[in-house]
C-alpha cells in the first residue's frame, strides 16, 4: 500500500475548505507556528518501544489489582487508581471492531504539511487486551472491510523505536495464538518523544489592522483612532476602546516621532526576534497619541537610553504586511 501517493487538491478540498460563498482576497496576518516539544514518555512507553525496535514485540500494562490489561501501556489504572509498573507481552493479532477510510485533506501538526490520504483506519481489540486501539490498516476500499475480520501488526524492517515501526495492521485469516509471557520493567535510560506543533496560521486582520499596516507599508504614515467617549487616541488602532467599551470610528494621523516612556535592553536570543540582540524594546508615545506603542529601538547600551528622549520611526524598504514594517525606532 502506497500511502504517499494520492494527495488530492481538487474538488474535495474546495468543498471542505471553502463552504463560504465568495473567495475574494482577504487581508491576513500570517504566523507560522513551530513549537518544539520534548514529551516525556514514561518508563513503560520507553520499554515498549525498546521491545518493539529490538524484538518486534507488542506489550501492554496490567493492573496489579483488577488485572485489566491496557494497550497502549500507561502508568495508572483509572478504575483502581493504582500504579502499573509491569509490562505484559501481547499477541500481535486482534479483531477489527470498527473501520473507516479517511478521505479528506488536513495539515499534520507534527510536520506542518498535508498528511497523505486516503488511508484505512481501524479500531481493533488486540487479543488479550481489555481496551481498544486505533491505527492504520492496509485497505482503502471500505467494501472490502468487515467488522470481525482478524488483523495482525506489520513491522518495518528497519525500526526506529516509535509508533511508525508499525506502519499498519493487515487483514489476515485466523492464526493460532502464541503463548503469553510476563515481563518486568528493567532500568533503562529515560527517553522522550520529540514532537512539534507546527501550524501555518492565517489571521484575518480586520479593517483597523489592515488600514494601519497598509498605511505604514505604503505611505510611511502612522494612524490611530479616537474614542468618541473619552477622546483618547489609540495607536496602534483597534475597534474598541477597552475603557469605554465603545466603537472607535474617527481616524487620526499621528507623528512618526515621539517620546520614550520606558525601555529595556534584551540580551537573550530567541527564534522569533526580528533583530539580533542586544537591542531595546520601548513604549513610545508618538506625538498626537494618548497611548503608547510598543516597539524596538535599535540601541544596545541602556546608558544611551532614558525616559523622555525623542525617537523616530524607521520604515522598512520592502514592507511585508507586518508590524515590523516599522523596522525600528532610532534616537533623534
Amino acid at each position: 500500500m502506497d500511502r504517499n501517493s494520492n494527495i488530492r487538491k481538487g474538488t474535495l478540498e474546495v468543498i471542505i475548505m471553502s463552504r463560504g460563498k465568495d473567495k475574494e482576497k482577504v487581508f491576513q496576518i500570517k504566523w507560522k507556528t513551530d513549537l518544539p516539544y520534548r514529551y516525556s514518555m514514561g518508563k513503560l512507553s520507553v520499554q515498549f518501544f525498546k521491545e518493539l525496535k529490538e524484538n518486534k514485540k507488542l506489550h501492554g500494562s496490567k493492573c496489579p489489582k483488577c488485572g485489566k490489561v491496557y494497550f497502549p501501556p500507561r502508568a495508572v489504572c483509572a478504575d483502581c487508581m493504582v500504579e502499573m509498573t509491569r509490562l505484559i507481552e501481547l499477541y500481535d493479532t486482534g479483531t477489527l471492531v470498527g473501520f473507516t477510510v479517511v478521505n479528506y485533506p488536513f495539515v499534520d501538526p507534527q510536520t506542518g504539511g498535508l498528511r497523505p490520504f486516503p488511508y484505512g483506519y481501524g479500531l481493533f481489540k488486540l487479543d488479550g487486551v481489555d481496551t481498544y486501539t486505533m491505527h492504520f490498516i492496509d485497505e482503502v476500499d471500505p467494501a472490502k472491510l468487515r467488522v470481525g475480520m482478524r488483523v495482525k501488526a506489520v513491522f518495518k524492517e528497519e525500526r526506529e523505536g516509535n509508533l511508525g515501526d508499525i506502519p499498519y495492521y493487515e487483514i489476515i485469516k485466523e492464526e493460532p495464538k502464541p503463548k503469553k509471557v510476563e515481563k518486568m520493567v528493567e532500568n533503562i535510560e529515560e527517553k522522550v518523544f520529540r514532537g512539534r506543533i507546527k501550524v501555518p496560521y492565517k489571521h484575518v486582520a480586520g479593517a483597523y489592522v489592515e488600514r494601519f499596516i497598509t498605511e505604514i507599508g505604503k505611505n510611511n504614515k502612522i494612524m490611530g483612532v479616537k474614542c468618541p467617549k473619552c477622546g483618547k487616541v489609540y495607536v496602534p488602532p483597534k475597534m474598541i476602546c477597552f475603557n469605554c467599551f465603545e466603537k472607535m470610528d474617527e481616524w487620526v494621523e499621528v507623528s512618526n516621532q515621539g517620546s520614550v516612556k520606558g525601555f529595556t535592553v534584551v540580551t537573550h536570543s530567541t527564534p522569533v526576534m526580528p533583530l539580533d540582540p542586544p537591542f531595546a524594546y520601548a513604549l513610545i508615545t508618538l506625538d498626537g497619541s494618548n497611548t503608547e506603542i510598543v516597539h524596538i529601538i535599535k540601541e544596545s547600551d541602556p546608558k544611551k537610553l532614558k525616559p523622555g528622549m525623542r525617537v523616530e520611526a524607521v520604515f522598512k524598504d520592502k514592507p511585508r504586511k507586518r508590524i515590523t514594517d516599522i523596522e525600528y525606532f532610532r534616537p533623534i
Binding site: 496576518i29 504566523w31 507556528t33 513549537l35 518544539p36 516539544y37 520534548r38 514529551y39 516525556s40 514518555m41 514514561g42 518508563k43 512507553s45 500507561r74 502508568a75 495508572v76 489504572c77 483509572a78 487508581m81 500504579e83 529515560e190 522522550v192 514532537g195 506543533i197 496560521y201 489571521h203 486582520a205 489592522v209 499596516i213 495607536v235 496602534p236 477597552f242 516612556k261 520606558g262 525601555f263 529595556t264 535592553v265 534584551v266 540580551t267 537573550h268 530567541t270 527564534p271 522569533v272 526576534m273 526580528p274 533583530l275 524594546y281 520601548a282 513604549l283 497611548t291 503608547e292 506603542i293 510598543v294 516597539h295 524596538i296 541602556p302 525616559p307 507586518r322 508590524i323 515590523t324
Partner: protein, 383 residues
Amino acid sequence: MDKVAIVGIAQTKYEADKIDQTYSELVFEVVKKLMDGLGITKDDIGSVVTSSNDFNDGRTIADMAIQDAVGSIGKSESRVSGDGAFAYIYGAMRILSEYYDTVMVVSHCKCSEGDQYLINNSIFDPFYQRALGLDQISAAGLMANMYVNKYGITEEQAAKVVLKNRKNALNNPYAHLQEAVTIEDVLFSPMIAYPLKELDLPPLSDGAVAMLLTKEEIAKKFTDSPVWLMGYGSCTDAYYLGHRTMTDLIGLEYAAKEAYKMAGINDPIREIDVAEVYDLFSYHELMSYEALGFCGKGEGGNFIESGETEMTGNTPVNPSGGVLSSNPTMANGLIRVAEIALQLMGKANKRQIPNAKVGLANGMNGICSQGNCVLIFGNDGGV
C-alpha cells in the same frame, strides 16, 4: 460568607527536568499522596478542577492527559486554562454553590518539555506585538525599568528579594533551587533584560500540586486544622503593553482591595501573619508589596530594607522561597495557596511562621500580572 475548607495538600519536589514522568504520572504522584495522606479513595471526591495550559503541555485540552490520574471516570472534571489559584477559587465556588461536598483541585506544569520563549511569545497578539519577539522576560524588563524610573528603586533593594527568597527556600524541601545567594552574586550575574539580571529572574521548573476542599460540615472529618477561605478578589489589567500601567500592579491592587473587603481586613500588615506572593522577578515582589497595601506607592524598596518581610519580620513574605526558587509556571498560584494552607495548619516545619492565623496568597495570569487573583485564608483561630 459560607465556609469552604482546605483539608489536605500534596506537592511534588520542584525540579528542572522530571524527564521520566509523563503528565499522568506527575499528577498521579500528588493525587495519590493527597488521597493516602487523607485516607480517602477517589469515591470520596465529588468533583475535580484542574489547571494547566495547552501551549505549555504541547497539547490542546491539556487536561485530557490526566483524566486517569485524577480519577475522572463518571465524574465532573473541569479545567481552568490558566494559573492554579484561579482553579482553587473555581473549586471553592463549586462547594459554595452547594453542588458538591468535596472538590479536588490539581495543577501541573512542566517547563522542561517546551520552548518557554516561544510559548510566552504566543501570548502576544499576532497583529501588533508577536512579530516584535516579545516574551515574558522582555516584558518583565520593561516593567522593572519603568518602575525603577518612576520610584528610584535600586538594584540592591531588588537583589534583597532574591537573597531573602533563596535563603527561605533552604527550609522548603520541595523548592527547586536550594542554594542561598549573596548580593554580589545577584548584582554581577549576566544582564538579561535591563535592569533584570539572571538571578533577578526565576528558574524553570516541573512539578504538580493538589489539594482537597470540603464544605464546612465535613471538614473536621478530614483534618483538625482546616483552612478557611476568608476573602477573594480578582482583577485584570489591559492587554496591549502600551495600554498597561507598567509602573504599578493595578490589577493586583484592585484584586487585593476586594479580597480585604470580603475578609474584613482594614490594616493588611497588622492583620496578615504571612503572605505568599507571586514574585515573577525581583522588582515584582517590591511592586507587589505596594499593590497589596503593605507599604505606600514607591516604598517597596524601603519596605524590604526594613526587614518586615523576612522570616523574623512582622509580615513574612514567601517563606517557601517563592517563584524565584520554584517556577512551574501554571502551578505557581496553587503552590502559593498550598504553602499558606500549610502555614495555617501549623504543618510548615522548618519554614513555619509561628502562630500564623491569617495568610494571603496570590496567583497571576498572562504577562506580568495582567490577570490577578488574591486569596485570604484563616485557620480556626483566624476567622
